[in-house]
Symmetry: C2
């Protein structure tokens, strides 16, 4: 209203306009108590009339809070963008953060140079904390750097090698795998094979471990093949299994994409699903509904995972100790068992 020629209005302008002090405006801005009704109304009016917007850097400088958190991704771009799980988590984390008035900054750290820059950025004070969604162990190599900088970090999935030092949220790999295997057994499948996920991920090792436990004496290395969670790797694994000429009447794939790949190969080979062989996956990814018949699988509730991750991170940013949360999974029966 007054002599702020071209300049962006500051909190002082608002204060002057409203006839109160800076402090009062700040209190209104931050929803603090101890502000009279009349003062609040005046300030709100002044904010509107001046077109005042808070200056995030001044606030950050004063509070040493940035209001944004890094979403750190150490997968390759291609893998990230081809795996709908990542996308799902990204999206729901962004939403959950927005609920807390925080912004997600996506940070891709695939190449070495990118990782260097990412570490620099994250530990340089640009963010209040980080969500790390790197499945693979090697992606976690620089977790140490983040920890050393005392940056609050929450991991999606168990951060192999940092279980003790980093809070995390994970779906119940063990419980989910047990449940779906019990289902298979209950339906009379006795010779179950496993297409295991990468063993440098907690999902990969956890589900394999559960497989081993449930099968007990029936467990045999011959019926385990490995993939990398991609559809192609599922197909490859399936071919390998067929080539081994071990008998099996069910496939437990480490995720849905690999299950779908396996089903492609089974179809080529003229093997009927579920009549000859039952197939189950993990995740309940979109791919689970695109197979014929649709895939029976274990749902990972990514929305809840994301929500919890954000909750834990906010806790840790506020100085409360990091938690560890395991989210229960749920079996989704469709047509492949």
């Amino acid at each position: 209203m007054t002599k702020l020629r071209g300049r962006r209005p500051t909190i002082d302008d608002v204060a002057t306009e409203a006839g109160v002090s800076r402090g009062t405006v700040s209190r209104v801005l931050n929803g603090s108590h101890w502000v009279s009704e009349t003062a609040r109304i005046q300030v709100e009016k002044a904010i509107k009339s001046t077109g005042y917007r808070i200056n995030p850097h001044a606030r950050s400088l004063a509070t040493s809070r940035t209001g944004s958190v890094g979403f750190l991704l150490t997968e390759s771009y291609e893998r990230f963008f081809s795996d709908p799980n990542f996308l799902h988590i990204l999206r729901s984390c962004a939403d959950a953060l927005a609920e807390h008035g925080m912004t997600l900054v996506l940070i891709m750290a695939d190449t070495l140079e990118e990782r260097r820059r990412a570490t620099e950025y994250l530990t340089g004070g640009h963010v209040d904390g980080a969500l790390v969604v790197s499945a693979h162990r090697d992606g976690q190599e620089f977790m140490a750097a983040l920890l050393e900088a005392r940056l609050p970090v929450i991991s999606a999935g168990i951060p192999l090698g940092f279980e003790e030092q980093v809070g995390y949220v994970t779906a119940d790999d063990d419980g989910g795998a047990r449940a779906i295997l019990e289902l298979l057994l209950a339906r009379g499948r006795t010779r179950i094979a496993h297409i295991a996920g990468p063993q440098d991920t907690s999902g990969g090792t956890g589900r394999l471990a559960a497989f081993r436990t449930v099968l007990g004496d029936d467990f045999s290395d011959e019926r385990v093949v490995y993939g990398d969670y991609s559809r192609e790797s599922g197909a490859r694994a399936m071919r390998e299994l067929l080539a081994r000429e071990v008998s099996f009447d069910a496939i437990f794939a480490g995720n849905d994409l690999m299950a779908a790949g396996a089903m492609d190969v089974l179809e080529e080979a003229g093997i009927q699903v579920p009549d000859d062989v039952a197939v189950v996956g993990f995740d309940d990814a979109p791919a689970a509904c695109e197979t014929v018949p649709q895939l029976t699988t274990v749902r990972q509730p990514f929305d809840r995972v994301s929500e919890e991750m954000v909750r834990l991170l906010v806790d840790e940013i506020n100085g409360r100790p990091a938690g560890r949360v395991v989210i229960p999974t749920e079996i989704v029966e469709r047509g492949t068992v």
Copy 2:
């Protein structure tokens, strides 16, 4: 070295340590002249010994520069992640920005709520400028808000409706389309059909316009069908064209994905490529190498596009007027002509 118990070292700590003043440290930090060799060495030593890291918010407050730019995306998540062009641009923009010491902040603004938040964020002083990569016109609706906030903006592709007010970088749709059509004509194809891209994108309209011009009197609405750049839409368009029972001996698809979709349908229909019908695309996306035979297409040099976008944006941030750049395309001959 001294009494900074737990506190992060500041520029003053460095100054004390180096036995110089704050001003000198700042000059060293910003690569300014007028610093003696000895002073510089002392400061660098002190920076190392104190473990000093610049505080980005203090700097931002003082300079009113943030060092980060928004990469604004108004496509749906799914479309974005399934179109490799976007991925390519994202990646090379991030690289190009890093060269300038700037960080890319990915901002997805698909839903209405997200767009509101994105506008808020972008105009709130969090970024120095924005790269807008929204192909579709409706995605540009809130360009007006950015412009009003005087935020430097550069668009990838011609920003329909804002051609005059916003700088942009685009591949040469007209030249590329003409060139590939001339190639088709030179090879004796006379009845060329066009699977046009969405008409609310500059690529879609530009390539269609070139098609119309090159064909001249031979142009016929009957030989134009529309898609949305997705593979499925290319297949759909191809089916429609077949259903129309117009004769054609070549297909010019608005992009490679649609070309691939069209080829799927042609194969189903038992039509040989290129013997019966030639097919050409646009982009030189990965999909172009996955068709059989591989696709003859027009390469869009996305690396150069990204580089130029960043260059223009940096220019505009520094107060130099926004430019408009058209990047020449190049024909890639493979096996479908």
